[in-house]
Symmetry: C2
Subunit: 344 residues, 2 copies
DNA sequence: AAACAAAATGTAAACGTTTACATTAGGAGT
DNA sequence: ACTCCTAATGTAAACGTTTACATTTTGTTT
């Protein structure tokens, strides 16, 4: 039989208010009384009902996490970053993702209006008008991930795609490559746009003219990488190096190179972005950009919790970009590279 | 300003009980009254407070999902299967995974005692005594995934690892291989044990003696696959085919083969288990066992919801195994295989 | 002992909903 | 018009906790 606060109070010979005070260390309770109450609570396995607490205190200690999809290690890394921090702070993580039956807007509306969550972490690579308005109207603290919200009233945490793309492109340039091609990510996708911008600016900074014929579009899938490579290498002017805007497309590039008997990096250098697990399985090991996904999740929830606790003003915009790092394999042409070889 | 049920009642000129009845279609409400109430609720964007509902109704419409880790597409597939079904049935998904700061037992205790979830889906590949006792004492409906709980009082959904391993081993035997090696999964891991059992029984059924020297252990990582292969091929008696107990170990096998200048399948055939995304990137394409992970999640939550709604007796044991399918690549020696080639 | 202040505790109500049971309204039959 | 029954509605309490404010107890000072 479950005991409630009334029963604990009866057994301790005090009022329910005193039990509450003792359990919450809130208000004055004589130490002796407090010890007695805690003892009786323990003997009876009593824990305050979190639902009743939520009703009274208007907080659920739950964070809503809205993801655009749930398909690979990127998403498990994000969830993991969030989950571990949630645990440290006695919070719970409610997950929801877009799928064929539901989109982000519906999910956000649901979370925002329902009182089930104290705040939301929203990953939305594309922000359309409707979503932007919702974010504005949000009455609950919200943190955006990887979002180019042109409205500067929001709080967001992003990977510094620009810097990563800039750096890796400069790395290619450092190898002496001049004809550098790029397989872009999906149009309108924030990450993709920033990676292209970093790529472009690195070329400009090094007085290399951007050649449109060396830029093809992709959609972050291996397949688009495969066909992007085929297109690039079918031209009269071929690139000597290719920046694939994510590693999965680089996987496709490797596959296309293999089936075309083109050697990496001897015939064409290839670099990627993301440092997904698979990239370390490619031969030669892919040179890529490492992105701190787990940390992204961790920082997002930390800031969100600060907003929830009014430790920071939820109406103040805040934006932080997590820097990336180069992981040097052999695919760019480096021979003494720093990335650990796969086995031994 | 948020309106509550009292305000809606006031505006509609009825009692709060009538508003509740109208919104819940519970008890008699004149149709005209009902329409009026729904109209006013809509105009005021009123939704019942789910926390208050939970307190009264003793249900949160939330499912707890406890995972042993959060590392790859296996877990996103499970979550996705659960999430999509949860949405269909107006339920929410609370995620928790084991990590360095927390183990499964703590998490289960937390979910079971706190009233935040109506039921739990627990994935635990190894069930130790403490956990087993907890599962027994569970006062809330629980569904196990991929668990060999020798206690038959539970509800579980598993992949039929035995059947998959049996079938794929028979497939190798069908190719004429007699010296068939295996790289096992982690000791005590339910999936791993069943896969070994299927492998063994297929050999026995086909009058092939199991040779201990052809069995090496691994831990489901690519690295253990790599070293397992090295060991197997360093022996005087080498296998002509290898069953890697999961695809990730098969990836390691491919890598080891490549660095040893051993050809797959000409020198040694290789098959895996899982049909992870990576397996389709290997050349030749890996022959493997497809496991319906999304479906596993879907079925688990469906049954759990039935238990929660008392549509099935939560005290009745139930176990279902989802069958697997063969995905034929070229790694076993098949030349006219059915798996789609990677790109055209 | 009396006065005052601070600590400790209790009472009552709040939070927002659902629902058992009481009461009222409406309809049907005589 | 009266009686009876059912539909519709309302009242009060429940759910389990927190907390504002009232009351009591304790400790200190004069």
């Amino acid at each position: 039989m479950e005991v409630n606060i009334k029963e604990i109070a009866r057994r301790a010979g005090v009022s329910i208010a005193t039990v509450s005070r003792a359990l919450n260390n809130n208000g004055s309770v004589r130490e002796e009384t407090r010890r007695k109450i805690l003892q009786i609570a323990k003997e009876n396995n009593y824990k305050p009902n979190p639902i009743a607490r939520s009703l009274t205190g208007k907080k659920t200690n739950t964070i809503g996490v809205i993801l655009p999809e749930l398909v690979d290690e990127f998403f498990t890394d994000i969830i993991r970053g969030i989950d571990e921090e949630a645990y440290q702070t006695d919070h719970y993580v409610m997950i929801s993702s877009s799928h064929s039956q539901r989109n982000i807007v519906q999910t956000l509306l649901e979370f925002m209006s329902s009182g089930r969550v104290d705040g939301v972490i929203l990953m939305a690579p594309k922000i359309r008008k409707e979503l932007s308005e919702l974010i504005q109207k949000s009455k609950r603290p919200m943190v955006l991930l990887n979002s180019c919200n042109s409205n500067n009233n929001s709080v967001c945490f992003n990977i510094n795609n620009y810097q990563g793309a800039f750096t890796i492109t400069e790395h290619l340039i450092g190898h002496g490559y001049k004809n550098i091609g790029m397989i872009q990510g999906p149009e309108g996708n924030c990450d993709a746009d920033e990676r292209f911008r970093g790529f472009s600016d690195a070329l400009l900074k090094n007085n290399i003219t951007i050649q449109d014929s060396l830029i093809v579009s992709g959609d972050f899938t291996a397949k688009s990488g495969y066909y992007g490579f085929i297109r690039l290498m079918s031209q009269s002017q071929k690139p000597e190096a290719i920046f694939a805007a994510n590693d999965m497309m680089a996987v496709g590039v490797y596959e296309a190179a293999r089936s075309s008997n083109i050697n990496i990096p001897q015939d064409v250098a290839v670099v990627g972005f993301d440092n997904i697990y698979m990239s370390r399985l490619l031969t030669p090991r892919l040179t890529t950009v490492h992105v701190p996904i787990v940390e992204l999740g961790t920082k997002a929830i930390r800031y969100l919790l600060k907003m929830i606790k009014n430790e920071v003003d939820a109406n103040l915009p805040y934006c932080e970009e997590l820097s990336t790092g180069l992981v040097i394999g052999g695919s760019c042409g480096c021979t003494n590279f720093s990335a650990p070889t796969f086995f031994k």
